[in-house]
Symmetry: C2
Subunit: 307 residues, 2 copies
């Protein structure tokens, strides 16, 4: 039987010797001019042209980062704003990343209940079962929002179980206003994010791999080292997906707390600091800037972790 | 200046004399045989054929219910499972419902932060700005998930403000497991759903219409009359979108608590009990069964409300 998601991700981290993952959040106005001004894509009034530009741009990024990092995180929102053209582009980028040996996390943050959640699990995580949709058009794992409780997450967990895929549940996000809701303490003094992590731990009990880590992990922002420490202490064997590194303010010291004593158990996402690195040296080959920024992020993370 | 979303919805309820809205959650296996077995659609292995079947089915429902109800709620999940074919079908159904004079609520339950939330607001709520996407392909209002706090909701509120559209924030959902998270009380004894409703009230302060109701409303399930009463009491001028009526167990008496003293302020969604009404009399014209079920739901709600 094939390995579960958690074990595959940890093996890829070991192989690439870095927990850095690259976030593909393309913004049309922020594409390198060499891509944006290409005659095929130079038309912001065409959703199809913008979506095509994303495929070209992301596929080049994938070629650059595939030898360097274990995984990419593709944020569906940035594609969906180009409607069905964008959705098809998202699927093409997912397939290209998988074809290049990368593990793919679909950052879709979906939420619904019961039967509707089943539809989203089939739409975003399950292997497509249609003649006219490629079989590798869905990612290895997705992010989900837990506000609706177990009913909303269970359909994703079932797909993860049956297809060796993974789920990252939003637990403590990296944005400023998250605290108002996620840090809210109950009568016993327990913050909501900690209760949520307990639920994640329960939901993931059936998909624990040989590594001891479950394929149901948590999204925990790099901008809150205190909450990160509390979560890692409470759940030494929970996979963390850590956004907020780089542009959002989380630095090397903030992310160290995400790892266990052996320096394992988390992936650190960097998006804008890599995708828009070409802006710092606009006269250079943009692809070289992206590679340099990826290597720089790897070095920053390495320096922050125990040797 | 055009009326805001809240006032338009309330006027449509007055005009149609019912707060019932019809939920379009099509399931391929549950389509009437006359649609599913049509030679153009009789191929579950083709996502394009399934999506086309949904457009045909939903457009017929729209013609039936447009004279009877103020609005439809279209659940994006059921379309998305057919990938980009489904996304395009969703947009076609949204446009058809608007063309038939219905107010359209896109049940997308999106959530993300800051810049990513802006992308979702542009993808799901804002009027499309592309030559190759019809201008009426987005709904009048969408549902959003508030677990990420203000950062995740604000971009939707801004679109609502600039384009006279609306937002329904998930506050107390109708599913069994919602209680674990949404009813959780803090040290002061206040449940999370009530705190969330306070935030919704704040977020909606800038888009209050002449009616006194804001275009930023709340999703409150019909299956929890106690929470419903508490919310209506605390927020007499908040729009409620009420799912869970019919198949999920909420009956006429459960939904009465959603309304204010004048019998206003809420829309009640029925999906499966209408869409799958043809099953009860499989030998009749399926469209007649749908119309009869819609009229029955209207009568049930009318009987439950003060005269």
């Amino acid at each position: 039987m094939a390995d579960g998601f958690a074990d595959r991700l940890l093996a890829a981290i070991d192989e690439k010797k870095t927990p850095l993952i690259v976030g593909l959040d393309p913004v049309y106005d922020q594409l390198p001019p060499a891509v944006r001004e290409h005659r095929d894509f130079n038309d912001p009034s065409s959703a199809a042209a913008c979506a095509d530009a994303f495929v070209t741009f992301c596929n080049k990024i994938i070629k650059i980062v595939a030898p360097l990092v274990p995984a990419v995180k593709i944020n569906s929102a940035f594609f969906e704003r180009y409607f069905w053209f964008g959705q098809e582009a998202y699927a093409e980028v997912v397939a290209e990343a998988r074809a290049n040996g990368l593990i793919v996390i679909g950052d879709v943050k979906r939420s619904d209940i019961g039967h509707s959640a089943e539809q989203y699990a089939a739409a975003t995580l399950r292997e497509p079962r249609f003649d006219d949709v490629p079989g590798d058009a869905t990612p290895d794992a997705v992010t989900v929002n837990p506000y609706l409780g177990a009913d909303g997450v269970q359909p994703f967990v079932e797909v993860a179980q049956h297809e060796n895929r993974g789920v990252f549940v939003l637990v403590r996000t990296s944005n400023p206003s998250a605290a108002v809701i996620q840090d809210r303490v109950d009568a016993s003094g327990e913050p909501l994010y900690l209760q949520m992590a307990k639920l994640v731990d329960e939901w993931g009990a059936g998909v624990r791999g040989a590594s001891g880590f479950s394929s149901i992990g948590a999204v925990v922002g790099a901008t809150h080292p205190e909450q990160m420490k509390a979560l890692r202490k409470a759940f030494p064997k929970m996979l963390f997906l850590v956004p907020g590194f780089g542009t959002q303010g989380g630095g090397g010291t903030e992310i160290a707390a995400a790892f266990d004593g052996a320096g394992r158990g988390a992936v650190i996402n960097a998006s804008r600091s890599i995708l828009q690195a070409w802006k710092k040296s606009p006269h250079e080959d943009w692809q070289k800037s992206i590679e340099a920024a990826t290597r720089e992020a790897i070095a920053t993370i390495r320096a922050a972790l125990p040797p």
